[in-house]
């Protein structure tokens, strides 16, 4: 019941304003294996399941020139056969043991998840070891995944949301590797060779920079043993070369892309704030008041609740290793694009000029402090949290400190963050659809 105590102590912070010292530390253990692999573990026996999330340093942003998409394709192919087992046999053996293994890539990382019933833990970790250390990359599977990847890229060209995201990333990150999406480019996907895919795996699947988090029905000693088995055979390797720094464009602009749909997608992006910036918590609270948290934000009130301009409208902070964004997104009928943009811009300006009320600030803080423990209702969400804490470079006792950090944010802090971030002159606006009026320049 260690997890229970951990979540209880977090909730106590929110609901009864206990002195922070009384909250106690959350019981996240750091396990260091005989081979020197480090991982975080929360042991919990309430359901006979183990979930492990892990990531290797380096993602699609470091795809070699002319090989855009190779990291993503390589990640998918890791579960398509390993050791003596071709893809069908590998998948059959996974299913027969109720083991689920999946990989994916982001711009910065290759990440994976193992989910296994505790009765077949041993088999689960063994299959994962095979996938990571002896992937086959057979030609027939490469062709199958290549065709699927190209098809899904083609289809995404017709989805307004996907088109908008692609255009926004392309514009904000012009000249930087983040400009190309993880899924890659059609032309490079077509020509990727088995040798290039294998070379990519050899480069990225390394113990250096490895992040591992596990939750569930497994003890420390066994977990350490399994970690050495799975990751111990990987090379230690040199640290990944740094990506180039990103300089936000000096001026924003508006981009309109036509698609034959009745509803246009709108996205507005501005440079954000990095996770270790002193203004992070103020920006986090500000974003929540502007467009976080479902129907309670200012944007939801003005765009949806008062005017019925959209079903969903939100803003979010996005952090990459070398860049940060604040992105506002919504979708509205083609006839209402200009109206919706006007309302959103007015709300952004109002927050920048007038800041927030004490009531808004207090509500945002209690929500943000309380929502985290309430979200920890499955081993997958807990493993995801432990994982993201490591990605963000946070300490294990961060959860106990978080409420204090959020609680200290003042209205003046939020206003400072708003003035710093909410800037029309550097905002990129993308509209995908068939808007009746072209969006007005800011």
């Amino acid at each position: 019941m260690k997890l229970r105590q951990a979540v209880a102590s977090l909730l106590a912070l929110v609901l009864s304003a206990l002195p922070l010292a009384a909250a106690g530390a959350v019981d996240i253990k750091e396990v260091t294996t005989p081979l020197g692999i480090k991982a975080w573990l929360v042991e919990d026996k309430s359901v006979p399941v183990v979930t492990m999330s892990f990531a290797f340093d380096g993602g699609s942003a470091s795809d070699p020139e002319g090989q855009k998409g190779v990291t993503s394709l390589m990640a998918i192919l890791l579960t398509d056969g390993a050791g003596a087992l071709p893809a069908p046999a590998f998948k059959q053996r996974s299913e027969d043991n109720e083991v689920w293994i999946g990989f994916g890539a982001s711009v910065d990382r290759v990440s994976g998840t193992l989910r296994v019933l505790s009765a077949s833990r041993d088999e689960g970790f063994e299959l994962l070891r095979l996938a990571l250390t002896e992937p086959r990359f057979d030609d027939d599977m490469i062709e199958q995944r290549r065709a699927q990847a190209i098809s899904s890229l083609d289809q995404s060209e017709q989805r307004p949301g996907a088109v908008a995201t692609r255009a926004l990333m392309g514009a904000m990150f012009a000249g930087h590797p983040y400009a190309t999406e993880t899924s890659g480019l059609r032309d490079s996907l077509k020509t990727l060779t088995a040798a290039e895919i294998k070379a990519r795996a050899a480069t990225l699947l390394s113990r250096t920079g490895l992040i591992v988090a596990a939750v569930g029905d497994i003890g420390e000693a066994e977990f350490a043993r399994q970690l050495d088995r799975v990751f111990g055979g990987l090379p230690a390797g040199p640290a990944r070369p740094e990506l180039p720094d990103w300089t936000p464009p000096a001026r924003g602009r508006s981009i309109a892309i036509e698609r034959p749909v009745p509803q246009s997608t709108l996205q507005i992006a501005m440079p954000g704030v990095s996770r270790n910036d002193p203004d992070w918590y103020a920006a986090f609270v500000m974003n929540h008041i502007l467009g976080g948290g479902g129907l309670t934000s200012r944007l939801a009130a003005e765009v949806r609740e008062k005017r019925g301009l959209a079903y969903g409208v939100s803003s979010g902070l996005r952090n990459y290793r070398k860049a940060s964004l604040l992105v506002i997104s919504t979708a509205t009928a083609n006839e209402k694009v200009a109206d919706t943009l006007r309302v959103i811009r007015a709300e952004v300006a109002r927050l920048r000029t007038d800041g927030v009320t004490e009531q808004e600030l207090a509500d945002a803080k209690t929500y943000l402090i309380g929502a985290l423990p309430v979200s920890l209702d499955s081993s997958a969400t807990i493993a995801a949290l432990l994982y993201s804490m490591q990605v963000d470079g946070l300490p294990r006792d961060y959860l106990a400190k978080r409420a204090k950090l959020l609680g200290a944010v003042t209205a003046a802090d939020v206003r400072r963050a708003a003035r710093r971030l909410l800037r029309d002159d550097v905002a990129f606006t993308v509209v995908v659809g068939k808007p009746v009026e072209l969006p007005i320049e800011p």
Partner: protein
């Protein structure tokens, strides 16, 4: 075959539950889980899009939106704001047979959300002003989910053929645009009074609580609500006319052809219900993953398709469907796909299925129910789906046992029963210039 034993899977697959009924007819299910001091409350009403009539489609879903617009004591939007202030989250959903409202929150706030949920069960205030704005929101939701998405428009047209135009399951839950535009405060109020009553609802509480505690709180907050007359729910025992049908949508927004076929099928409640569990097993062994028959034959061996799957959902008050979904590989004709799927169906009907593949499918289905217990959201959803379609708690609890009891002969009999030409709709989504 190795892996966890059948006995172990059966033991873990059964979720602890307790249930009771209040004097006013409100059914209560408690799913205790003490891993974290969090609870999920779900109230489901036994009403959905299939309880509507043509001309008023979308009323169940529109009403679901209006349930957040307040009562005499809770202002518009306040429900969500109050939940949010406690760090909780809330939402709602509408399907053909069910409308559900849920909140997840710290365990000591259970009474607070119960008080508010009970309040809007009886005291909803429907104001013209709110309706006018929310109608626009609903229409934007329809644009997002349906009108902007060619495959959703095709699904809507295919359902009209399979279940019949202007009949239950043949009309979209979100509603037709013309209907949504016409719905009035009077229409929504009448629907609310007709279907929202304790004796037409189920309260499900999952998480860190006990049946005793839930009983006390439920008596206090839901107990005083008056029982109301609720009419019987009607579902046709047949499907659309003049099947088989073929529905084609050529759309400028489509770059890759998609081929679907749906067969009318019995559910747990309607038609030849004895086939329902076997149809679930059939869909798993035929088309649930990359080791299933369809994927192996069409994607791996013949390389005709980029993906191939089959699906079946038995939790329906009326008839349901058994579906095939294939994405052809570049250069594969629709005729080749139809022939390949036809071969697989014929092979199965001629040779039956092996005990090994049935056992594999069953084990995976049972493991899935073990995995699902790892989340607070899945239990209420599962009980909600069955209890809103005329099922019982015992039926949910016995599901793993019933799945485990399906034999190869039963799978074959189920396939024979369902795969009939006069119960099928084939649908084709193609690029605007026509099928390749």
């Amino acid at each position: 075959m190795s892996g966890p034993s059948r006995a172990a899977l059966l033991t873990f697959a059964r979720r602890p539950s307790e249930s009771f009924t209040l004097a006013n007819g409100l059914q209560v299910v408690v799913l205790p889980s003490h891993r974290a001091p969090i609870v999920t409350q779900v109230v489901i009403y036994k009403v959905g899009g299939a309880d509507e009539v043509f001309g008023q489609t979308g009323v169940a879903h529109f009403l679901e939106h209006m349930m957040f617009k307040g009562t005499a004591t809770v202002g518009p939007g306040e429900f969500s704001r109050i939940v949010s202030r406690s760090g909780g989250r809330d939402n709602a959903y509408t399907d053909f047979d069910v409308t559900g409202y849920h909140q997840t929150i710290a365990a000591d706030r259970l009474e607070m959300v119960m008080r508010m949920e009970a309040d809007r069960m009886a005291n909803l205030r429907l104001a013209e002003k709110d309706l006018t704005t929310e109608r626009l929101v609903v229409l934007e939701e329809r644009r997002m989910r349906t009108d902007n998405v060619p495959s959703s428009l095709l699904d809507e047209a295919a359902r009209e053929q399979l279940f019949g135009r202007h009949r239950p399951y043949g009309m979209p839950v979100v509603g037709y645009v013309d209907d949504v535009k016409k719905l009035s405060v009077g229409d929504l109020g009448a629907f609310y009074r007709k279907h929202y009553a304790p004796n037409n609802a189920v309260l499900i509480v999952a998480g860190d609580t006990t049946p005793e505690a839930v009983r006390v709180l439920a008596e206090r907050h839901y107990g005083p609500l008056a029982r109301r007359p609720v009419g019987p729910r009607r579902r046709p025992s047949d499907g659309g006319k003049d099947l088989p049908q073929r529905v084609i949508r050529a759309d400028a927004r489509v770059v890759e052809t998609r081929w679907d076929r749906d067969y009318l099928a019995p559910s747990y409640r309607m038609g030849e219900t004895q086939h329902a569990h076997a149809l679930s097993v059939l869909s798993w062994l035929l088309g649930s993953s990359e080791t299933s028959r369809l994927w192996r034959a069409l994607v791996v061996e013949a390389r005709l398709a980029l993906s191939a799957s089959a699906s079946y959902g038995g939790a329906s008050l009326g008839l349901t469907s058994f579906g095939f979904d294939v994405q052809p590989a570049h250069g594969t004709t629709v005729a080749a796909i139809e022939a390949a799927v036809g071969d697989q169906m014929k092979k199965l009907l001629d040779d039956g299925v092996t005990p090994e593949e049935v056992e594999r499918a069953q084990n995976r289905m049972l493991a899935q129910t073990v995995y699902s217990q790892d989340s607070l959201a899945s239990g209420p959803r599962l009980y909600g789906a069955i209890l809103s379609t005329g099922g019982t708690v015992a039926e949910v609890d016995d599901w793993p046992k019933n799945i485990a009891a399906v034999t190869p002969a039963a799978v074959l009999a189920a396939a024979r029963h369902v795969w009939r030409d006069d119960g099928a709709v084939t649908s084709l989504l193609t690029p605007a210039e026509g099928a390749r």
